[in-house]
Symmetry: C2
Subunit: 390 residues, 2 copies
């Protein structure tokens, strides 16, 4: 079997991580044949590290149409994700795209259509889907261990970032450059798991704070309240300026409660359905019996999830391996974060799916009326290999 | 010193608990001289247990004006709390009133005025204020261990109650009879601590579910989001139908985070102010140092808090002992729960203090338009001595 030929578009922080997996020989069934960046310094500093055969491009379309790649990894700023992905699909290429799927769902919907039409392997880089703790929780929910879900709460306030982080790039944390704050940069991982495990909510009511504890234009803190079709409710809280933050997922259902915290899963399992218990109980203060169960899982949080996602995508393209994070699902977490912004901007409930034209117009308004000037910008590449939740 | 002469008004579930402390000789500086209940069966069943000298009354005003009491304990349904307290203050009596302070703040404000005018010892029976865990957390906050508070979250979903509980009294969990659901019956304890420890919020946005998982007219589940003057945010979640529920209080501040759960207090203490750290940090992914501290406290959760609250009130009346839960503060937790209802009813933000006439009118509307008919009502006295958080 021939190896898949892969090009990397964008060799900033995330692109460099992907690139290193190829350089380190971790990608078994693919070879890196092209790299691209609009920043020439960043691009050509890599020249010495590759054989002559690797193509260097300053423009994504040149790489896409070069004929020397079967698939591309997109690691550009967020706005360009769906634009470049559409070009790639239209050229018949496989796509592994960094999260988020894009900045606004309207464009991501176009990307999904192009992907569907192309039939190519399409993955969004939700690396946390490889984490066995969350895979286990998803499996328990899918196996109906909890019964009907009543409540899902994620306190994920441990995405600590300093002002220096925001000052590391002029595009960072601006409406024009990044299109959002922590919901669009760090939280897509948990927002994806939130909907992957708990399903898509029916509507949201949320509060964001823009530049509350960091000098940025976008949100550094958000709290969202969700309602679901089955009557369940959800709460999601995040912040970049609390230390030490919390990472606690709690899912309550008819058969008890699952709590994930400190990389442990605890299942408080009732021996009967709460609904049945309540129906048959004659004493006002009786309670069901519940067992505190420590749920084992093969802790792989130290594994290289970036490598795993690339190999999975390559194998999906070459031999139909099941994708860990099918690209089409990337729109879900983005729909949630867009909905949270819209709820804040309009100060009202937002039903899913919301009016995508309205969101787009509001976002343009934020960009066009922006008078935010970033101070102390120091353009640097950050060493991020150990900074995210794997 | 003469003993204080105390009358108990209402000898249902809570009144019986107070009464037992007198019968068991636990109240050192007071004697029970009168009891009152509008339910004659409930009242006169007690006749044999007291000396002839104890007065029996079928009407609270007869007891108040009997001349045989210096103070009263009010343990009637909620609506009557401020009405009877006002009568008592006007007659120059000390008052220990069950929580909540009342059903709507407008009336409670009148009660507070009557109390102030009388100058008598006035306590609301917030027994959880005697709990050393919460006293410790309050002390830590007051001592500024956390610095500026950023976020306060209480998941208190362990107020499990079955339908049988709600069927134990026709007045229970109706707008006309009780004036609210779990926010007014079980949660006043935590809502009081929430404001006692974290201060009063500036505004609230909340969602309640009325009769979601129990056949009742009022809320069995609520989620509220708060904003504070200093920029902090708060989230409060409660439910009566989840098992096993959660009781987790988390307070994040500039100097770390306090977590109360499983009757343990953990303080994650940063060695520097987060704000200072952020200001002086040059690396985007650096983090402050934080120490995980187990905070000791003398666990008194098994103590008899009811007894403690009565003795404290008696001693305040007789010798000026500092009240554990000054009655004037009862309006705060009620303002929060009223605000939560108003936010749900109007589907909007509610600023504190809100329009109390509007709230009163809305409540009357709920009562007057109610078509709720309780099924399977079985009027019983419940044994509640071990059912609440002490």
């Amino acid at each position: 079997m021939d190896k898949m030929r892969v090009g990397i578009i964008g060799v900033g922080n995330m692109g460099s991580m992907h690139l290193s997996r190829f350089l380190d020989g971790k990608i078994r069934n693919a070879e890196l044949t092209a790299v691209c960046d609009i920043n020439k310094d960043r691009l050509y500093r890599l020249k010495d590290r590759f054989p002559e055969s690797v193509g260097f491009y300053e423009n994504s379309n040149d790489l896409i149409n070069s004929g020397c790649v079967d698939g591309v990894i997109i690691a550009t700023p967020h706005y360009d994700h769906p634009i470049i992905a559409i070009d790639a699909f239209n050229a018949g290429l496989h796509v592994l795209c960094e999260k988020p799927a894009g900045v606004y769902t309207k464009k991501v919907r176009e990307m999904n259509e192009a992907a569907k039409k192309s039939g190519k392997a399409f993955q969004i880089d939700f690396i946390m889907r490889t984490n066995n703790a969350f895979r286990k929780i998803k499996q328990m929910i899918d196996n109906n261990e909890l019964g009907k879900i009543k409540r899902i709460v994620w306190i994920i306030t441990d995405w600590y970032r300093t002002q220096a982080y925001y000052n590391s790039g002029g595009w960072r944390a601006t409406w024009a450059g990044e299109g959002g704050g922590t919901l669009l940069n760090q939280n897509p991982h948990q927002l994806d798991l939130f909907q992957w495990i708990g399903g898509m909510p029916k509507r949201v009511r949320a509060s964001c704070y823009f530049g509350k504890n960091r000098e940025i234009e976008v949100e550094d803190e958000a709290t969202a309240y969700f309602e679901y079709d089955n009557g369940a409710v959800g709460v999601y809280m995040t912040s970049v300026s609390e230390f030490p933050g919390t990472n606690r997922l709690e899912i309550a259902g008819d058969r008890g409660k699952i709590v994930y915290e400190d990389n442990k899963i605890t299942f408080f399992r009732t021996t009967v359905s709460e609904e049945e218990f309540n129906k048959n109980c004659n004493n006002g203060f009786d309670k069901p019996e519940a067992w505190k169960c420590e749920i084992p899982f093969d802790d792989n949080s130290g594994d290289d999830a970036v490598e795993k996602m690339i190999n999975n995508w390559v194998n999906a393209a070459l031999m139909g391996e099941t994708l860990i994070a099918p690209g089409f699902e990337g729109i879900n977490s983005l729909m949630i974060s867009n909905g949270i912004y819209l709820s804040q901007w309009e100060d009202t409930w937002v039903d899913f799916p919301f009016n995508e034209d309205l969101f787009y117009d509001k976002l343009q308004e934020k960009i066009n009326t922006s008078d935010f000037v970033k101070k102390d910008v120091d353009e640097t590449l950050l060493d991020i290999d150990n900074t995210f939740h794997k």
